[in-house]
Symmetry: C2
Subunit: 242 residues, 2 copies
């Protein structure tokens, strides 16, 4: 990507190491923001996502990459942090009919809160999150109304929001939460990322990888990813166990 | 306190070990909730608050006490987590004229988000937080409009909120954020706590204690506490260095 001007504004981008957040980071960078990447280590069962986040951050050319460790796993309640089996080989109908067991309680609320704290310290008013309401509608905290509610909260919760509201009572919000993927299909996300030069070979998607990090090819996340590449007419650069 | 009935509802109570959160926990218990206490170890410069939280939790008789460690200090930006001097001996006018340097970025947003995750796992729909808008008006995230915005967010962010909204579209919110101290003076808080049997000798308030945890008697937090006991006509049971 071309170099940023010295006047570039800072944005905090939540970066998981997955396909969606890598694309989101590339969009923030292409929109002219200096990217401050934030990854949350929320007690995942494997470290491959964070390794991918580091590789993606480096490839995109972020100004800074912070990893905050937080043990949500001690609350239990999710296949991603506790010892519940990850479902395999489900149809899209089965996936979307219910809130997935891979749901982590309040995950996006927690992650955006941390991004907000980081942004406040940086003097940034722009947060980016790669949530998507299309392919994975079972998560309540991936919907546009959730993002709107968090934006409102952020402007009430922070010095920057309070000071901007005092200076301009007409209601222009100082803090913005960007969710550029929210209404895109997986295929559209992948096409956009490829246009921006994202190397999807660096990303990690699988919920149940092998000990060396090879994607299973059967969990909900792998199936959605594979379908996305197929629909985009592109080849997924990562290897699969099956 | 009298024993709870088997049908008692669960509440997640944010417990810092300070005077306000101890009173809040006692109010939740007196309101008939089974208390699940949550303390956040957000990289404080001293551990005395968490030690106090454990003693208070035990004294109140909580069902469970979880401590989640999270390193907000790596973001910098606050005297409570970074290396900025804590102001001493200020008048109330000086304290309330600006947002205090002891402000931790997005702290209440982060803490309520974690409480929300814990509540979701517990099947609880009631969060308690001891924020107060009277004595310490400099914190944006201690105001009633912040609590209202978080309540709205919580109902959009969670399974419980989404399912309740689907079952009852009339707008009754499933998740409630209780902030029982929000309009009380420090003296009112202390009187209420004493009525409920709170042992304030177990609580920790000071921002700059000695190495053995003795309160300094000069930081903003100590001064507000001492003024509160004085106004309540009660003796503060903790020792001070001065």
């Amino acid at each position: 990507m071309p170099p940023l001007p010295d006047s570039a504004r800072r944005a905090v981008v939540l970066l998981s190491g997955g396909l969606d957040s890598a694309t989101t980071a590339a969009i923030a960078r292409a929109d002219g923001f200096e990217v401050y990447a934030l990854s949350i280590d929320y007690g995942q069962r494997h470290r491959f996502e964070l390794d991918s986040a580091q590789r993606v951050a480096q490839a995109i050319g972020v100004a800074e990459h912070r990893i905050v460790k937080i043990d949500l796993g001690q609350f239990g309640g999710s296949a991603l942090t506790a010892d519940i089996a990850v479902p395999r080989g489900r149809s899209e109908g089965q996936m979307s009919a219910e809130i997935p067991v891979t749901y982590v309680p309040a995950r996006n609320t927690v992650m955006l809160s941390l991004a907000l704290g980081y942004a406040e310290v940086l003097g940034s008013t722009d947060l980016f999150i790669g949530v998507n309401a299309v392919d994975y509608s079972g998560y309540p905290d991936c919907r546009p109304e959730f993002i709107a509610a968090f934006t409102r909260l952020a402007n009430l919760a922070t010095k920057a929001g309070v000071e901007a509201a005092a200076a301009d009572p007409s209601g222009n919000l100082a803090l913005r939460v960007h969710a550029p993927l929210i209404t895109m299909t997986k295929a559209q996300i992948i096409r956009q990322g490829v246009q921006l030069g994202v190397d999807y070979g660096l990303t990690h998607t699988c919920y149940a990888p092998s000990e060396t990090g090879i994607a299973c090819g059967a969990c909900d996340a792998c199936l959605l990813r594979q379908k996305g590449f197929e629909a985009a007419g592109l080849v997924d650069p990562i290897p699969y166990q099956q």
